[in-house]
């Protein structure tokens, strides 16, 4: 895996991820996640749905980046169509734009040579691209991009649980590590579908997460919320 991919997966990467809980804040506010024991089910559920979708599109975008295929508008529309929650589309685009901004500022040869031009073409087609698509465009390796996208789909909520609920960070980290076999298989499946026509890419759904995201957005306008999603 490239250093660039490691940086994108790092929770300290300045791409705005720290303000997104992936539905965890709303789940915690509703008492659906209270303790460390509740977390693994939330995380594996998210990984099998939102995580799979992110991995699939990160891999497909990486495939396009590696082959210099300009199908960014199509990928964007296809991912939009698979994200029924408007709040989740906004959260994805906010992180995508921020990740693109941070990646564009990494003026190192690996960025400039491999993905600098890809990023410019992507941003010309979609000024506010989805997060998963930016990850793929920057990493340009389907298996690596898929693994990073899958990991980020659970590392964000895990970190949010520590900050919101005061859960034991060591046990939370253990829960993340326990997801490794699932992360690997999600990434491998996503990489295997990377070359498909975008319209034929898998479309996993998570109605509960969609509803939590919409409720979070509504509550945010009415009362205090600490995370953007």
């Amino acid at each position: 895996m490239s250093v660039l991919a490691l940086m994108l997966a790092d929770s300290r990467f300045p791409g705005g991820g720290h303000a997104h809980s992936g539905g965890l804040e709303e789940a915690a506010a509703r008492g659906l996640v209270r303790t460390e024991a509740d977390l693994p089910a939330f995380l594996s559920g998210r990984l099998r749905t939102a995580g799979v979708l992110a991995a699939v599109f990160a891999a497909a975008a990486a495939h396009s980046a590696a082959g210099r295929v300009d199908n960014w508008s199509t990928l964007d529309e296809e991912l939009d169509a698979r994200t029924p929650s408007s709040a989740q589309r906004s959260a994805s685009r906010a992180q995508g734009r921020a990740t693109a901004r941070a990646a564009a500022a990494m003026a190192v040869p690996s960025v400039d040579n491999v993905c600098g031009s890809t990023l410019r073409v992507l941003l010309a087609a979609t000024p506010r691209p989805h997060h998963a698509i930016v990850l793929g465009a920057v990493i340009a390796s389907p298996p690596d991009a898929a693994l990073v996208a899958a990991y980020l789909s659970v590392s964000g909520p895990a970190s949010a649980s520590v900050r919101l609920l005061g859960l034991d960070p060591l046990r939370v980290n253990g829960s993340l590590a326990a997801l490794e076999p699932l992360l690997r298989s999600v990434a491998a499946d996503a990489a295997a579908s990377a070359a498909l026509d975008p319209a034929a890419l898998p479309a996993p759904g998570a109605p509960a997460l969609d509803l939590l995201a919409e409720e979070h957005d509504r509550h945010h306008r009415e009362e205090v919320r600490l995370f953007a999603s």
């Binding site: 900050r163 945010h220 600490l226």
Partner: protein, 221 residues
């Protein structure tokens, strides 16, 4: 001093703000030190300028609501950001949400000259990233104890302006303003310090004048 034997000395001169974008000034400081009251006072004192405000309160919309209720600024000129329980992260380590808010305001008001970014209440180590703000004001108050300036910390020692707020409370809380002022000047090595009370001078004249001087420096620089 250079730590890299192969490199030339780093350029010590700060780059001026990029042309065509508003000046960004951060207001940070501990919880309850009077950041929002100062921002409201500045909005009134600088009402002749094209300005906008970004708030980072940990309870996100609280400060924005305070400013809206105070009626000092058109609500469209106030943006609130979510900090994910980490106010210092949002102004220092990952400035994404604040940059997005500043850009949104600049798009909405093309003639914007000044954006004041108020941090959520944090501790004495919280400072703004230079990637987010051009200048920063750190606000402490006398009721927080007259030892605060002596304790230092990056906020107190490195902010471009230190405001020791609520001086009217000094006799009530037994704070020695001479000690606070003396310690502040000592740990700040010549950087400016303002002692103020928004009860005595609601317009925050000294801070407003400092902000106008920063704006003037951009215009003439």
């Amino acid at each position: 001093m250079s730590f890299d034997p192969t490199a030339a000395e780093p350029d010590r001169h700060a780059a001026p703000p990029a042309a065509g974008r508003p000046l960004r000034i951060g207001v940070g400081g501990p919880v309850g030190s009077g950041k929002t009251a100062l921002v409201a006072a500045l909005c009134r004192a600088l009402a002749d300028l094209e300005l906008a405000v970004v708030t980072n309160d940990i309870y996100t919309t609280e400060d924005a609501e305070f400013l809206r209720r105070a009626g000092v600024l058109d609500p469209a000129r106030i943006e609130a950001v979510q900090t994910g329980c980490c106010p210092h992260t949002a102004i220092r380590d990952d400035i994404t949400a604040n940059l997005d808010a500043v850009e949104a305001l600049a798009e909405r008001f093309p003639a914007l000259r000044l954006v004041i970014i108020e941090s959520g209440g944090d501790n004495l180590t919280a400072v703004f990233s230079r990637g987010l703000v051009d200048h920063q004001i750190f606000v402490v108050d006398v009721a927080g104890g007259d030892k605060v300036p002596r304790k230092g910390g990056p906020g107190v020692t490195t902010a471009d302006l230190l405001v020791i707020n609520k001086t009217d409370l000094a006799p009530l809380v037994g704070a020695d303003l001479d000690v606070m002022s003396g310690d502040a000047h000592r740990v700040r090595g010549g950087l400016p310090v303002v002692l103020q009370s928004l009860v005595d001078t609601p317009g925050a004249p000294a801070v407003a004048e400092w902000v106008r001087a920063r704006l003037a420096a951009v215009t003439t620089g």
